[in-house]
Each structure stands twice: as structure tokens, then as C-alpha cells.
Amino acid sequence: MIEAIDLLFNTSLWAAVLRIATPLIFGVLGALLCERAGVLNLGIEGIMTLGAMTGWLAVFLGTPLWLGLVVAALCGAIMGLLHATLTVPLGLSQHVSGLGITLFASALASYLYRLIVEVGDLPPTIEPFRALDIPVLTDIPVLGPVLFSQALPTYLALLAVLVTAYVLARTPLGLAIRMTGENPHAVEAQGLNPMRIRVGAVVAGSALMAIGGSFLTMVAFDSFFPGMVQGRGWICIALVVFASWRPGKALVGALLFALFDAYQLRLQTVSEGVPYQLFLMAPYVLSILALVLVARRAEVPAALMIPHRRGDR
């Protein structure tokens, strides 16, 4: 029991929180962007998988790490474009299309990976992002290692939160995105094309998701294996609801979730005799509980999942 509490005062726990949160932050921002424009993107799980694979693959084939991020983002954007094409101009079920994208992108990732790595081979590794110490700040006790000794993508994730929040709240584009999620007819009546805005938001959101996925192979691990996203995408979908579709709250949600995850991982090591699966289950259970807690007062974008047809009212 004492050990369990001691864990909370361990700096490495808190440093791990930001690390574990990073893919979730990207994923939840991406999902949030799509949903703010009115499109549910259940392709997230597959897009993260594909991002993880392609980012890794690019680096494995010799590109610099940053280019790996770009490649992952591009692949995510392509999947986003596919989802957007099916759900926006064609108005198909966002649920079914999203699941289709997840199945397709995951399968594609595994297939392409197997083209390069034979079954039975050891998974090849890359040289991942190393922690980027920020001079001076990293020497602050406790806070230094927790906040200022992270890998580049983690800083990017925090920046992405700021940018997304700013764009949504303060720019004409952000207003157009929010309005499209609330009432696409209003957008159309003001002379803008809500379809284009939706497609753009889904493409951009999907790119973010893929970057989130690439964190897994380019920072957290140094290799790819099928199924490595392990439901993080679905958890992001739950976190968006938990965050009431707000970027700031999404960051808080991702951090809380990561804290919990980091803690349960460490708790496993000091809990003899308790099946480790119970700990691994906890994050999923927590996600469901969070959904139940907020579902009643969720401020869902009014036009979420409602296809828009021109002139149709």
C-alpha cells in the first residue's frame, strides 16, 4: 500500500505521463477537429496504425526522422480524404465508412509491413527520436525532467493543442469549422461551401491522428508490429466526448488518462499475485466510465453525423 503511494512521488512516473499522453493528444485533437466539422471519424484506429507503420518505414528506408513524421501525416491525410469522400459528398454512414477505413488502413499497414519483413524475422528497428533537453529549463528540479526533457513530437503535440484551440476560437476558418458542425445550412447560406470545410477538417484531423500513431514507432518503441495501437484510437474517440469537444479539456483528458495508465503500469510491478490483465483492463474501463459520467451533459455539435446535401432542408 505504501509502495503504491510512493509511486506517485516518483519523477519518472510524471515524465512518463507526457510521453504516454502524446499519441493520445494527437489522436484526440484529430478526432475533435473532424467532429467539430460534423464528421465522426472511426477510421482513427486504423489511421494511427498506418501512421505508425509508414512513419517507421520511411525512417527504416533511410529518411530523417522528421520526414518520417511528414510521411505518416500524408498517409493519414490520404485515408482522411477517403473517409471524407465517402461521408461528405456521398453522404454515406459515418459509422460504417469509419470502421471500413480502420479495417482497411490496419490491413494495409500489416500487408505493407509484411512485404518488407518476413514472418519469423526479428522486427527491424530504427533509431527513434531521443529526448530533447531544453537548455536551462531541463535543470529545474522535478519539473525539468518531467516537462523539458521530452522527445520532439511531445513538444509538437502541446503546440498542436495551442494551435487548434486558437484556430477554432479566434480565426474565421475556425468559426467556419465550428459552424459547419452545428449547422451546415447556415454556412451555405453565408456563401461558404460546408462540404469543402468538412473534407478539409477530416483530412487535417486524420493527418494529426497518423502523427499520433507514428509516435508509437518513432519514440515509444523503435519497431512496428500489427495491432500495436491497441485501442488507443477508440480511447481518443471517448476522450473527445469527455472533453466536450474542447481542445484544452482534451489535453487535460489525455493527461489524466496517461497518468492513470502510467500509474497502473508501475502498480503492476509492486502488486504480487494480482493478474496483470486487471491493470491493463483499467484504462478501457475508465474510458467507459468517463463516457457515462459526461454523456448526459455533453454539448455535441448539433450536426455531428448528419450528412449535408446541397439545398436540401
Binding site: 454556412v187 451555405e188 447560406a189 453565408q190 456563401g191 461558404l192
Partner: protein, 506 residues
Amino acid sequence: MTKVLELHGITKRFGALTANDGITLSLAQGEILALLGENGAGKTTLMNILFGHYAADDGWVRVFGQDMPPGRPRAAIEAGIGMVHQHFTLAANLTVLENVMLGSEPLGRLRSARQSARAKLLEIAEKFGLAVNPDAKISHLSVGERQRVEILKALYRDARVLILDEPTAVLARPEAQRLFETLREMTREGLSLIFISHKLHEVMSASDRVAVLRAGKLVAERETAQTSPKELAELMVGRQVERPVREPHEIGAPTLVARGITVGEGEETQLNEVSFTVHGGEILGIVGVSGNGQAALGALLSGLVHPSSGTLSLAGENAAALGPRSMIRAGAGRVPEDRHAEGVVGELALWENAVLERLRTSEFSRHGLVRQKVCKAYTADLIERFDIRGATPDTRTQLLSGGNMQKLILGRVLSSDPRFILANQPTRGLDEGAIAAVHAELLAARMAGAAILLISEELEEAVALSDRIQAIVKGRMSDPITADAATPQRLGLIMSGVWEAHADAS
């Protein structure tokens, strides 16, 4: 006079339907043109073409002498056209300022210029007497205020020509009058206006010129001063449609009795201690501007919501806790407000909709299995009896016209000889022929002894059909007045909620 707007030979087809057929129309500087026509005459389609929501199949539009590219709302806005849609195009969760600003700035701009936008909005609001709080959320505004925002949106984009689609559909008469005064003021500021309407009296009182559409064609243009409501009515309907007349007859015992009914609580109170009685063989009309509790009243009498206090009895039995099916079993028939959303499942066949309410009765199912043959025969009978055109029991219900769909719903209700009938906006969106048919069915049911509660926003209809009338305002209901006493003045008064004052005066 200079022409600010010209439409020439506009034709628009939807499949087999020609919604607009070679329409040529123009608007002069400072003029108020009324576009008059029945539901389905093609008014809204025409205005949607003008605004660029649709592209016409044929014809052209010119604004201030410039050709307008078809199908681009943005081009219409830039040319100075503003449209106030009947169903407001506002985002309820955003503020007034946000709704107004949308689309007015280049999307690439890195920061919205809120301060200057707010100043401009307030200035315009001041100039045209359309007071508004820029930071209020739309969802907190009344219907009238929302309409004001719709108009401000157009003015903010420097509209010179304003199109208003059925602008008074959601307004009480005094509000509507104020609106038309404001619009008249606007023409003095140099704006030109088109408003769409199917109400003769407001066309007569508010327009300079009238264009009448019928079945997609422009059938007449008249200077308002040189025409009469009678002439316009004939032009609009084109054929002699006589609405049936209510015959006097004996009224029976109380069938549906509501006493002190409240629905919802606190801020959410939708009905506030309302009382009413409907007798057998009587039509009780509930009049009022939409959004004053009609929806809750409809839901209450459909068995979808239950009162938090008060009593409701149907044929002497307590009906306050009954759900839809028990309500039907107790002898209630319900015609819902929104045919498409509540009345039918559009994707299902006619026969499935016809029996959906009573699917679990032994007439239509046995041992949990649907008796399809019986159901279809029953539906074929309904089609015959209620003159539902262009349909077989297997037709997908969505394909019916509004009038025929309403006949199906009425047929489903009336075929079980209900003691009590709720008719919620039974003629909304129908053309004259269908309206007459619906009225005839309701009056026949009345003669047969049914107690009917008619909720209507069309005063003419309520007065013509009802034996007695009550007004509903902000969830409260006036005492009933008899149809004979229902003068326009008195109705206007009780509909603005001043029945208490009136009672004091008399």
C-alpha cells in the same frame, strides 16, 4: 424606375416535377414585391435559384445589370442579395456575432476582427432599429429575435436586395406588423425587397406589387393597390375550391377533460396549469403562435409525455399516465404535427405505416406474427376510402405527396372510430385541394360524435372549423371563447396573452 433584379425564363425540374416553369420577373429599386402562391407552387425554389442554392435548368438572373453565375450563394451575396430563410440558418450554440460574422472574412485570415465586426453590427442594428445583443447565444433568443439576427446577417453583408421566405410564419400578428414597418423603413434606405407568402391579408397590406405563382408558373402580376384579396385568391388557387363549412349540431358530453395540467418544471415548464374540455361532436381550436407550448400539448395528448401535475381524463377514465398504445386503446386518435418526422416511417411501405400503431392487436398479428394479408387488405381499403392517390399498399410511403400522406395518417386514425382526435397542424404545407379534403374528414368525424382538439397556427382554419377556441401563450391557455365571438380583434388580443386584462375589462 431602375431594375435592381431581373429573372428571365427560369426553369427548374426535379425529376418529373417542374417546380419552376419559364418564370420571368423583375424588381424595381425601393419596391416591396410579394411572391404569392400556395404551398408547392414553386416560390421557395425560385428564391433558392435566385440566391444560388440551386442552379436553374434554364434561364438567367441579372442583379444591378450584372449576370449572376448560377448555383453560387457566394456570388449572390457579393452581388448584394440577402436571404432570410423560413427555417432560420443559424447555429444555436454560437453567439449572434459569430453567426453574423461567418463568411464575411477571408478564411485565410489569422485573426478574426471581432471588435470592428461588433461595432459594424451594432451600427447596422441601430440604423435599422433591430436591437440585438451581439454576445447572446442564439439558443437563448426568442423566435422573433432570431429572425432579427437573420435579417442582420444579410444587412451586415451589405445586401441591397432582401428576400424573405414566409417571414411571418413564426410571428404573432403584432410582431408581424412591426416587421413590415421595419421592412418599409428599409426601402427608404434604398433596399428592395421580395417576400414570399401565402397569406392574402399581409400581401395586401405590406406589398407594392404582387406576383402570383401557381403550379410552377407565373400566372399574374398586379399592383397591390389595383387588386383585391378575392382576385388574388382566385389567381393563387386557379380553380374553385370550396372549403367545407361547419354545420351547427348538438354537442355531446365531455370526452376529454384536462384540469390544471403542468408539463415540465421550473425553467423547463412547457405547459403551465392548463385546463380545457373537449365534448363529443365538438371541435376545440387551440390557436397561438408556434413555440408557445403546442408541441408539449401535442406530446401530452399523444401519450408521449406525462403531466407533472393536474388531471387528464378520457371518457371518464384517468389518461394522465397512458402511453401511446394505451391512449389509442382508450379511444384516442392522433394526427402528429410533423408528418415526415413523426407521422410515418418514410422508408417503409404504406401498409406497414397504416398498421404500425395497432400492430400488436389481434386484428393485425397473431402469435407475434404479422398477418400481412389482412394488413394489406386493410390498407387497400384505406387507400380507397380516403382517396389516397398514386399508391398501392406496397408503395414506399416517402413517395406520397404531402396531402396524400396526410390522408393516410387521417385514415389510420379515423378507421378505428376514435372517441377523441388530436389534430396537430393537420393542414400545414398542404395545397388548397388537400386542405379541403382534410377539413371535410375532420368535420365528418365531428358530425359522427368524435371530440376533436385542433391545434392550428392558421387562424382562418381554426375559426372555420372550431366550435370553441382557446389561445395558448407561453405555455398557458386562455378561457375558451365561442367561434361566433372570435373576431379578429379579440383573437389578436388573446393570442398576445392579454386575456386576463380582457376579462377585467368586460
